[in-house]
């Protein structure tokens, strides 16, 4: 019984940890990727001019 609780508990703990790591990694990779709003599988790399697609976002950045 004790061994089951330790084992299953460790499994759940590691799973929850993995959840946060995966979520964090996914979000930060998407944020860091070149062009977050277009899922064009790398097509955008051929067009270095287009960085931010959302005009509203561009305005916000200019003001900073």
């Amino acid at each position: 019984m004790g061994s089951f609780i330790i084992g299953a508990g460790t499994a759940i703990g590691l799973a929850i940890g993995t959840f946060f790591v995966l979520e964090f990694a996914t979000i930060s990779v998407i944020e860091k990727s070149y062009n977050p709003s277009l899922n064009l599988e790398g097509v955008h790399i051929q067009y270095p001019g287009v960085e931010r697609v959302n005009p509203a976002e561009r305005v916000a950045e200019d003001e900073e």
């Binding site: 019984m1 061994s3 499994a11």
Partner: protein, 405 residues
């Protein structure tokens, strides 16, 4: 070794009744699966009218063809000019008021042109088992995934082997176990309990086992609901399928690390004791002595040949599952399209096989054999259990103790 037989498998009446009921239910499910397998549904029949709204030409789909062509042209243009939403949006070739619809199709109406007038190519394409090579002009690197010849084999592999034969393997094997329980009963401790125990697994070994098995079961449940959700969960509502789908796609990868860690620990703890030996052949040739209560179980050390097979399925199967699973989590990082298709097939087929194998393990570790469960739960087994199933191991530890004393 002389064994006085006091308990027989057939004495476990309650267990045998439960086994019989389970066998009956499983037989029904099994029959349904077999029916599904031979059910002739090779031809995909459209359920919706696929056409352009405002198409009065009578042959639905003609205009839709033009519309698709116009769309592709538009996408091609986008592809060449780059994604520039600030620029002018090119006009739709047929005007922007015409759009595609997918109204439900009234029975026996004219289908889209290609459905209605099968020429040689489309006729073949509708035939599940024949290949058509396709080409895609979409600006999407993986679009041809759906049109390569290998993609058809891949689809067949997933749909027929992994899905149907997988379900048949899992259900069929469970049915077999239920029948064994109903007819043979449990594998008994022939002499009855000695009420003296022997230490079999220490706390670390047990905790590792439960960490691995808990993770495995979570992986199996979420994996099955990903693979069979459409059959098993959709009947209870699309909403539920959506919710379980979301939980499963998260729940599946997150239990990979504890599972992988457990596999590594198990390999370190138990590999030496699971190397094959001559005894194993003898043990296997006698079927482990599981099917008779005559008191002549073949001798075994700590792990018998059956357990060794379980061990190596866990280690080798586990490693393959973890590696192919990682590959699926990072698509195209180190494999191309062909490699990804294989990774998916291997992950799916091995996955259902391992589920079937470990259903067998869980069976023998719980209802299938009297006294086995406590080895993993509390760490101690009854001495008579040890004597009947692992006599060489028992001798080994008792001699060891005497040697020390």
């Amino acid at each position: 070794m002389k064994t006085e037989v006091r308990v027989r498998g057939k004495d476990f009446t309650g267990y045998r009744i439960v086994g019989a009921i389970a066998a009956l239910l499983l037989a029904l499910v099994f029959a349904w699966q077999l029916f599904e397998l031979f059910d002739d549904d090779n031809l995909t029949v459209p359920e919706v009218r696929w056409g352009a709204a405002g198409d009065d030409s009578g042959v639905a789909g003609v205009l839709a063809d033009d519309l698709i062509t116009a769309r592709s042209r538009l996408q091609d243009e986008r592809y060449r000019t780059g994604p520039a939403p600030d620029g002018e949006v090119p006009a739709n070739a047929l005007g922007n008021e015409i759009f595609l619809t997918d109204e439900p199709l009234p029975r026996d109406t004219t289908l889209t042109r290609s459905w209605a007038m099968l020429d040689e190519d489309t006729g073949q394409m509708l035939q599940e088992r024949q290949r058509v090579v396709g080409r895609s002009s979409l600006p999407y690197a993986n679009a041809e995934l759906f049109e390569r010849p290998f993609a058809r084999d891949w689809r067949l592999g997933l749909a027929d082997f992994a899905t149907h034969l997988g379900a048949i393997a899992i259900i069929g094997f469970s049915l077999l176990l239920a029948l064994i329980l109903a007819i043979r009963g449990r594998v008994p401790i022939l002499e009855g309990r000695a009420h003296r125990t022997v230490k079999r697994f220490n706390l670390f070994e047990r905790a590792t086992h439960w960490m691995t098995s808990f993770s495995f079961i979570m992986l199996a449940i979420t994996g099955v609901s990903i693979a069979y959700g459409d059959t098993l969960i959709r009947p209870f509502g699309d909403e539920l399928l959506g919710a379980t789908g979301w939980i499963s796609t998260w729940g599946h990868p997150i239990f990979a690390p504890p599972f992988a860690l457990g596999i590594v620990f198990m390999a370190v703890m138990w590999t030496m004791r699971n190397l094959p030996s001559r005894l194993d052949l003898h043990w296997l040739s006698k079927g482990g002595g599981f099917f008779s209560d005559d008191g002549h179980n073949p001798p075994a050390r700590k792990f018998n040949a059956g357990q060794k097979l379980i061990f190596w399925s866990a280690i080798l199967g586990g490693i393959t599952m973890v590696l192919s699973g990682l590959t699926l989590m990072f698509p195209y990082y180190w494999l191309d399209l062909e490699g990804m298709s294989w990774a998916m097939l291997i992950h799916a087929i091995l996955g259902v096989l391992l589920i079937a194998i470990f259903i067998g393990h869980i069976y023998i570790g719980t209802v299938g054999m009297q006294g086995a469960f406590w080895a993993m739960w509390g760490g101690n087994v009854d001495r008579n259990w040890a004597k009947e199933h692992h006599e060489l191991w028992l001798a080994e530890i008792e001699d060891g103790k005497q040697g020390k004393a």
